[in-house]
Every structure is written in structure tokens, then in C-alpha cells.
């Protein structure tokens, strides 16, 4: 089936090229049948990519090592679910996943807009096809997943142990969905700029894609953080790694865009800004993919550097940047604002400030992420930038964003009186100041000024959102007489964008409080212990109760059981392990089980207020002499079988491998029977759970905001007509014979 896969990829490339040409021809000539034909070509690309993906995934699942990517990224001993997901652990397979997702989301966008924005669609379609040509071209020419070998190995190299985590199933597809979804608003923005149709419609039709991109990137980031926290064994969830930053940057710009488009929708303002943000988000998505694939910046998440891919990506990114600047400049006369800002103390004023801060935050992260490359280009020496440098610049800006996310919900559009402002701010400000006051008496909290401020601001945001829900529910009850629960549900259901957004604000605030607490007040120590010995961390006594070990031909695992107590009272029992996966080193038949890849499984007791986290880092040096002896003996035994007849050789080899397995098991068990000092990393971190909880709240809010509103009741929802409110004289209709009451009725 590899041949079929190769041909299908070429078909996808040809269909993309056809779609690109047909879209442009249809746009230039106004012949809609060519545009429709091109749209169908996108469905075809999506279908072909899906079939190709299934063919490759079946090869992974069935361990067909004639495929080079399967041999390098999987093995017969890799568990089924990891074999199914191993496809995106390789450069080639992940490119195919990208093509499939890009074609799928593009097809969905083009299907939903098939009767709308008809002047914009042909150009947007051409941009999406341009992307499809680029990525399918890479797959066909430089990273073909269907490349086969004449002599397939009996066993594959296996999936990198660090990737053997349940999150592996979801995290990469979620991030790729976020990246590819971001290209839909990008394409429609380009279409709007080229066609000159720069009204609100293209924003309306792509808003959900922007929101979906934001949500997918956010969930991807969260899952990546969780993966890091429970698997990597370094004790954190965010390391300011270039690839992590690559997903964070488009997420931040997308956050700014989701807010600022509301100003354009409502007021016809910020058109240049919005177009720039959409184009920047799309470009950042490609930059993100570039950082993952290029390996130009040191990252544990990146693929091995490939100069051909790097040149191609640099070309695409340059084209996107130059094209974006040219288009916005060319259309600047049509991007003028319809209105001016009435007052800085208004929701649009807050949104504007929040936009500036978010873009500044992105610029800072971009600069620090690429600083090693820039410093190397200028000085010849690569300078690494660590988390403390990021924190120094990012934390103050993050505080401002959090503050604004609390102010935004309680301030109305356009204008506000001071009396209303005071009333709106009273409770949230009291909650924030009250929190600061209480925490001022908690020992050590005020020493970490930024974290202390974040706690106050977090309380302010949560209080402002709670106040909004309370007041909205109360108003709804007054109008309908519903019970509190029913009124709340109806309120949210009828105003999903608004209240979904508020939930996101509360969730992000809760998450950032968790981040501030867990990074500022974390207690960490390294201890080297024998069974029975204890170490103290943050008032907890951690006792190394007993070692554990297990060995199979696929993995050797050294672990430990630890009992945690506080003040003499047992708190919890933690189990941690360190897994060693064999390398393919033929010279060391025993040693290869100890010199391959490794993974850590942390012992974790997560609580609402603190996490107890421990990981074992066993030292196998005491086994080294036995390993060397075993290597020599097994190698000799294997050598002695070479001159035997085939049948006898097979029998002999079987016996030797059985002996080898027994020996490996014996070696592993020495960790239990003759325990030696073992190193542990221990942490007590407060409020880590708040990070996950806040992220889940934010994701729920995002889903609510994304959920479609039934089209009919939407306009009828202006339930209270103020019959006394006469239209101003300027609004009196002069060009239509329709009576005024009819106009009013249509409004409500």
C-alpha cells in the first residue's frame, strides 16, 4: 500500500495546484463554476489526505517496518494506542497530519461560506490552497512518509519513551488543529484585503474559526504542560522552551484579535489593527510549525534539523510577512475607522489597552525565544535565555492583562458615569484588596511581590465575573420570574459570547494564581537516601520505604515507594519509577538495556492547596561491573552460535536470549535485594491544581462562546421594548415608505 500512499499524496498535490489555479481563474473572470470546482478540490484533498493517513496509520499499527517511518518511530513492543499515535512522532507523519487537518478545516470553512462572502472566498480559497500546495509539496518532495526500505528490519527503533504518555494521543493533533485553524481567518483576511470587501462579514464568518484556533491551542498548551509535569521529571510544567513559546505566541495574538474584532463589529473601528492581528496570528502559526520542524532552536520537542525544510519555511514566512504588509498598506484607505473612541474609560478602551499589552507580551516572548539565534548571528556565540529572564519581562505584563480581564466585564461599551463605575467596581475591588489584606498576614507571601499582586488581582477578576453572573441572573429573574438556576442557564444560553468570555477570564485568573503560587512558593530539594531514611521538605517528612524493580525485554524499571508524613501523621504514599528502554547497540547485549532512552514516572499527590511531587533518579553504576561481565559472556555465547547449522543455531539463540532475560531480571532485582543510595527530587508546590482547574474553566468558557446560537431567536431576544424611546430626528427614515413602527419591530 506504500505505492498507493505515494500516488495519493501526488494526487493531493495536483488537486491543490488545480484548486489554486481554478480559484484565481474564477476570481479574475467572475466564473463561479471554477470557484465551486476549486472548493470541491479542497474536499478531495481532505479525503485523499485522510485515506493516506489511514494507510500510514495501519502500517504503524501492524508494525510494517518496510515503511522507513514505522521502523524509526515504532516497534512491535510499543503498546497499541502508542503505535496508533506514533504517526505524528515522526517528521513525515506529522506533516501528513498537518495536511489532513489543514484540508479538513479549510473544507469546513469553504463549505460554511459557500453562499457567503462570494467576492472574498475565491481569494481566501487560493490562500488555503497555497498552504495546501506548500505542505503537500513538502510531504511529496522532502518528507515522504511512504518511503520504503528493501530490507526491512525485524524490529523497529520504537517510540521515544518520553512520548509514551496518554497526552500523546491528543496534544499534537490539538496544537496542529490550533495552527491550521488560525490559517482560515488569515486566508479570509487576505481575501478581504485583495477584494476590498473589508466590512464586518468576513469577520463574522471566520470568528468561530479564530475562537476554535484559540481553544485548540489553549488545550494543546495545557496538555503539554500537564505532560511535562507528570513525565519529564524536572519538576515543572512550563520551561519557556522555544516550541512551547511557538504555540503560546499565536495564542496570545489570537486572544488580542478575538477581543478587538468585537470593536470592529460594533463600532467599525480598528480595521488596520484587526487585519494586522489576523495576519500576524496566521504567520505565527507557521512560525510555530517551523520551530517544531526545523530544530533551529534547541528544544526537546523539535524534530531533527532539516535544511531543505528550513529554507522552504523561511521562504513561506517571508512571503506571508511581506505580502501582509503590502496588502495592509495597499488597502489602508479602506481600512479607516467608521467611528472614534468615545472614551478611554469604556470597554473598547480596555480592549485596546489589553490588545497593546498582549502584543507587547508576544513581542517580548518572540525576542527572547529567538535571542539565542540573534546573538549567535551577531557575536558568533549562542546565548541561552532561561526562565528567570522570561519571568522578569513577562510577569509584569501578565499582571496588567489579568487586571484588564477583570475590568473589561464590568465596564460598559462607549461610556460610563462615575457613579455607575464606583458601584461596578466596589465589590471586585473590595474582594481584591481584602485578599491582599488577609495574605499580608500570611508569613512570607508579601516577599514575592508579583505573586502577592497576582493573588489580589485574581480575586478581583473572579469577583468581577461572579458579580456579572449574579447581576445578569437577577435581571433575568426580574424579567421572566424564573428560578435562579433557570435564569442563570437562560442568561448564559442567550448571551454565550459574553458569559462564555467571562468564564474564560475567571479561568485564566484562577490558572495564573496557580502559576504564581506554584512558582514563587515552591519548595524543592534533592536527597540521596537508602531505604528507611527520610528527608524533610516544606515540613513534610518523606521516607524511602522500599525500592521496586521490574524487567522485561522491552523495559527495565527502577522505582521506589515513599511514605510522606507531617507532624508524625501519615499523609500519603507515593510511588515513582525510572524506566530504561533498550538501545539497538549490537555490541553490548546486556549494556544496551541500560544505555537507551529513559522516562520518569513521578509520584504525585495532588491536592486543592498543595501538590507533593517526587521522582527517583537511580544510579546504575553499582551494576556496571556485572553488566560488563554479562556483555562479554552473552557476546561470546552469541558468537559461538554463528557456525552452527540453522536449526541448531535457532535453538541455541533461543536459550541464550532466555538466559539474557533472566540475567537482566537478576540485575534489576539487585536494586531491591542489595539496595544502594538513590537520588530523589522532591517538591511541595502550592496551588498547582488551580492551574489545571482554571484551564478547564477557561476551556469550558471557550466552548460556550464557540457554541452556535440558534439563528432565529437571536434577534427576538431584545425582549424588553422601550416604547417610550423615540428615535432621534436624524434617524427618521427618509428614503423608505415603510412606517416607523415596522422599523422598531425589526429591531427588537
Amino acid at each position: 500500500m506504500a505505492d498507493a500512499g505515494r500516488v495519493l499524496l501526488i494526487l493531493a498535490l495536483l488537486s491543490s495546484l488545480y484548486g489554486l489555479g481554478a480559484s484565481l481563474y474564477g476570481a479574475r473572470t467572475g466564473r463561479t463554476e471554477w470557484v465551486d470546482s476549486a472548493r470541491r478540490a479542497m474536499y478531495v484533498v481532505a479525503g485523499i489526505a485522510a485515506v493516506a493517513f489511514v494507510i500510514l496509520d495501519v502500517a504503524f499499527i501492524t508494525s510494517d517496518f518496510s515503511y522507513s517511518v514505522v521502523a524509526s518511530g515504532s516497534s512491535t513492543t510499543t503498546p497499541f494506542f502508542y503505535r496508533a499515535a506514533a504517526i505524528w512522532s515522526t517528521q513525515q507523519g506529522s506533516l501528513l497530519l498537518w495536511v489532513m487537518l489543514l484540508a479538513f478545516w479549510s473544507s469546513l470553512a469553504l463549505f460554511l461560506t459557500r453562499h457567503r462572502v462570494r467576492e472574498i472566498v475565491p481569494y481566501a480559497q487560493a490562500v488555503l490552497f497555497g498552504m495546501a500546495v506548500f505542505f503537500t509539496g513538502l510531504n511529496v518532495l522532502f518528507a515522504n512518509p511512504f518511503k520504503t526500505t528493501v530490507a526491512p528490519p525485524a524490529e523497529g527503533a520504537g517510540l521515544d519513551p518520553l512520548l509514551r504518555h496518554t497526552t500523546m494521543m491528543v496534544h499534537p493533533p490539538m496544537l496542529y488543529s490550533g495552527y491550521t485553524l488560525a490559517l482560515v481567518p488569515f486566508a479570509f483576511c487576505v481575501g478581504a484585503l485583495v477584494s476590498g470587501r473589508l466590512g464586518a462579514e468576513w469577520i463574522q464568518v471566520t470568528r468561530r474559526f479564530a475562537l476554535a484556533s484559540w481553544l485548540c491551542l489553549g488545550i494543546g498548551l495545557l496538555l503539554g504542560a500537564r505532560w511535562s509535569y507528570t513525565e519529564l521529571g524536572w519538576g515543572g510544567y512550563w520551561a519557556w522552551d522555544p516550541v512551547e513559546n511557538a504555540a503560546l505566541m499565536p495564542w496570545l495574538v489570537c486572544t488580542a484579535y478575538i477581543h478587538s474584532i468585537m470593536i470592529q463589529e460594533k463600532r467599525g473601528m480598528l480595521k488596520v489593527w484587526n487585519a494586522s492581528l489576523v495576519l500576524l496570528t496566521g504567520t505565527m502559526a507557521i512560525v510555530g510549525d517551523f520551530l517544531v520542524r526545523s530544530g533551529i532552536l534547541s528544544s526537546i520537542h523539535a524534530f531533527v534539523s532539516d535544511p531543505t525544510l528550513n529554507v522552504s519555511f523561511v521562504g513561506l514566512i517571508s512571503l506571508m510577512v511581506i505580502g501582509s504588509v503590502w496588502l495592509v498598506t495597499r488597502r489602508r484607505d479602506r481600512l479607516t475607522s467608521d467611528h472614534k473612541l468615545d472614551s478611554l474609560i469604556s470597554r473598547e478602551g480596555v480592549f485596546l489597552l489589553q490588545n497593546v499589552v498582549l502584543v507587547a507580551l508576544t513581542a517580548v516572548i518572540f525576542w527572547l525565544t529567538f535571542f539565542p539565534l540573534i546573538s549567535e548571528a551577531i557575536t558568533g556565540t549562542e546565548t541561552s535565555v532561561g526562565p528567570p529572564v522570561f519571568a522578569r519581562f513577562v510577569v509584569p505584563l501578565a499582571l496588567v492583562v489579568v487586571a484588564l480581564s477583570g475590568i473589561g466585564p464590568i465596564i460598559p461599551w462607549r461610556r460610563v458615569t462615575m457613579a455607575k463605575l464606583r458601584r461596578a467596581f466596589a465589590f471586585p475591588v473590595a474582594a481584591g484588596l481584602g485578599t491582599l489584606l488577609v495574605l499580608a498576614f500570611v508569613s512570607g507571601v508579601t516577599e514575592h511581590v508579583f505573586a502577592y499582586l497576582m493573588f489580589g488581582l485574581g480575586a478581583f477578576v473572579v469577583a468581577s465575573v461572579a458579580q456579572e453572573f449574579f447581576r445578569g441572573t437577577r435581571a433575568r429573574r426580574a424579567m421572566t420570574g424564573d428560578g435562579a438556576g433557570g435564569a442563570l442557564l437562560a442568561l448564559v444560553a442567550r448571551n454565550r459570547r459574553r458569559y462564555g468570555g467571562y468564564l474564560v477570564h475567571a479561568g485564566v485568573a484562577v490558572a495564573l494564581v496557580g502559576v504564581a503560587a506554584s512558582t514563587s512558593f515552591q519548595h524543592q530539594r534533592t536527597a540521596t537516601l537508602l531505604p528507611g531514611q527520610s528527608a524533610r521538605v516544606a515540613g513534610y517528612d518523606v521516607k524511602y520505604v522500599r525500592p521496586t524493580a521490574s524487567a522485561t525485554a522491552q523495559k527495565i524499571s527502577f522505582g521506589a515507594v515513599l511514605a510522606v508524613s507531617r507532624g508524625g501523621h501519615h499523609v500519603t504514599t507515593l510511588a515513582t519509577s525510572y524506566g530504561l528502554y533498550p538501545s539497538l547497540d549490537p555490541m553490548h547485549p546486556i549494556g544496551r538495556f541500560f544505555n537507551g532512552s529513559s522516562e520518569s514516572r513521578v509520584g504525585l499527590d495532588a491536592g486543592a492547596l498543595r501538590d507533593l511531587w517526587v521522582v527517583v533518579a537511580p544510579n546504575v553504576t553499582p551494576l556496571q561491573s556485572l553488566i560488563s561481565t554479562g556483555d562479554v559472556k552473552i557476546a561470546r555465547a552469541l558468537l559461538s552460535t554463528e557456525k552452527l547449522p540453522a536449526a541448531q543455531q535457532a535453538s541455541q539463540l533461543n536459550t541464550i536470549y532466555q538466559l539474557r532475560d533472566i540475567l537482566i531480571n537478576e540485575l534489576a532485582q539487585r536494586f531491591v535485594t542489595h539496595p544502594w543510595k538513590t537520588q530523589f527530587l522532591m517538591e511541595v508546590s502550592p496551588l498547582v491544581t488551580w492551574l489545571w482547574l482554571g484551564a478547564i474553566i477557561a476551556a469550558c468558557g471557550g466552548l460556550i462562546a464557540l457554541w452556535p446560537v440558534p439563528s432565529r431567536p437571536r434577534h427576538g431576544a431584545l425582549s424588553v421594548r422601550r416604547r417610550g424611546a423615540a428615535l432621534p430626528a436624524t434617524a427618521a427614515p427618509t428614503t423608505t415608505p415603510e412606517p416607523e413602527p415596522e422599523r422598531e419591530r425589526e429591531l427588537v
Binding site: D3, A4, S37, V44, R116, K266, W413, K420, L727, P728
Partner: protein, 101 residues
């Protein structure tokens, strides 16, 4: 098997992609609004949302009655203007009322 799969995919692709070209040529999609109308409808929907938001802001105590009255009045005036422009855009060219000089 592989060749059969490729042939099936190729046949389906050609059939799907060529369908609009094989069909009788349409001058335009009769059911689709013109670009101007669609843009105005988008503006109208946005304005409706803004009116509803202002109403909610009043009911949740963010706007005073006086502020809301002024805001609501101007929003409705803007909405009516959009509706007028929408009428004009929807009307056949012969029925359009010329704008004032």
C-alpha cells in the same frame, strides 16, 4: 488492491471536481445575496447585538437610565440607517431613490 484504491479515489476526485464545470453555467448564485447586501446584513446583525448588549448593561446596572437612553437612541438610529441602506441594496436599480445631492 493499491491500484484499485487509487483508481477509485481518482474517479471520485475527477467526478466531484468537474461537477460544477459540467453543469449548465450560472450567471450567479440566485439564492445568494449580493456582496453589498451581505455586508449590510452583517452590520445589521452586529448592531442588533450591540442594542441587546446595551439593554443587558442597563439591566445589570452598568449603564444609568440616561446613558442607556442616549446610547440606545443612537444605536437604533444607526440600525435604522443600516436598514435603509439594506433596502436600497436589495431593491432593483430602477426602484432606488437617488440620494440627496
Amino acid at each position: 488492491m493499491a491500484y484499485v484504491l487509487v483508481l477509485i479515489v481518482l474517479a471520485v476526485a475527477v467526478y466531484l471536481i468537474s461537477a460544477p464545470l459540467r453543469a449548465a453555467r450560472r450567471p450567479d448564485d440566485a439564492d445568494s445575496p449580493t456582496a453589498d447586501v451581505a455586508e449590510l446584513e452583517a452590520e445589521r446583525d452586529a448592531k442588533y447585538r450591540e442594542i441587546r448588549d446595551a439593554e443587558l448593561d442597563l439591566r445589570t446596572g452598568k449603564l444609568s437610565d440616561a446613558d442607556h437612553a442616549a446610547l440606545d437612541g443612537s444605536l437604533r438610529a444607526e440600525a435604522v440607517q443600516i436598514l435603509h441602506r439594506l433596502d436600497e441594496a436589495r431593491a432593483p436599480a430602477s426602484e432606488r431613490i437617488p440620494s440627496a445631492p
